[in-house]
Symmetry: C2
Subunit: 156 residues, 2 copies
């Protein structure tokens, strides 16, 4: 299984979320080439501001692996994890982040991003986590396009 | 009702958490002088690395107020919110953070803190949120003391 396949799953999940009226974000957690969790944002459905795609994926992965330690896991995120999600990834000891679109793209779409990039947070925290950015960026912007076409879309 | 009373509730909640085997953190969210939510960490109980006290309090407040926008709310946290919780507070549009012990105290106790202070994040994000630090710090360290006495305590 390749990075492309896992990111495609995250994109597909994000598009599914958009279809259901959710924000255009998706994330998958993979361990030993197996999908542990794959989630989209449910902030609006749950009326819970912390239900970002990555947070949902981490919560589900902890449950599935029966552990708060997700070492040796990789997270594929359609958009650069925000500082909340980045910090959750740190707490979970996930070893690698692969993301497509950037925080700037989410900001441009109207989301109230903190605008502190993952690489800045990594540097400030002196972390060893691996970060791959701009991976399949064009494809990762598709959920934004689908979302922009929707009526009554909500930003937060 | 005063800041002291609300912080005391957060401390009491943290101590209750410690009694149940949880990590020594508590947080209350207040709006118009009314307690909206008051929670302790449930990371260990839930096997969910994101179930910090502040995250639990935000989730509950969103549910109670039926809104993802917690403007005009104040969060009282026994310990400086970590970057995950700080960012969640930003997303929730909470207007003020009042905390007691610092991230350093949690680090000293053994928790894997990112060590990026709230004031640094505020500055990097150019935010307007008000931050009051070292509030009732001595009392806010009590849950750590109670926690240190416990056998089989788990850090993360």
């Amino acid at each position: 299984m390749s990075d492309e396949i896992f990111m495609s799953l995250a994109i597909k999940k994000a598009l599914k979320g958009v279809k259901k009226g959710q924000a255009p974000f998706g994330a998958c957690i993979i361990k030993n080439n197996k999908v542990i969790s794959c989630e989209h944002s449910t902030v609006l459905k749950d009326t819970n501001i912390i239900s970002h795609a990555e947070m949902n994926a981490i919560k589900k992965a902890c449950k599935k692996l029966k552990s708060i330690n997700l070492k040796d896991c990789i997270i594929y995120s359609t958009v650069e994890p925000c500082p909340m999600c980045f910090s959750a990834i740190h707490w979970a000891k996930i070893s690698k982040i692969i993301y497509g679109a950037s925080e700037n793209d989410a900001k441009k779409a109207g989301f109230n991003e903190l605008m502190i990039h993952d690489k800045k947070l990594k540097s400030l925290g002196r972390l060893k986590i691996k970060i791959v950015s701009n991976f399949m960026k064009k494809e990762c912007l598709e959920p934004f396009k689908a979302w922009k076409k929707r009526k009554n879309k909500r930003i937060y």
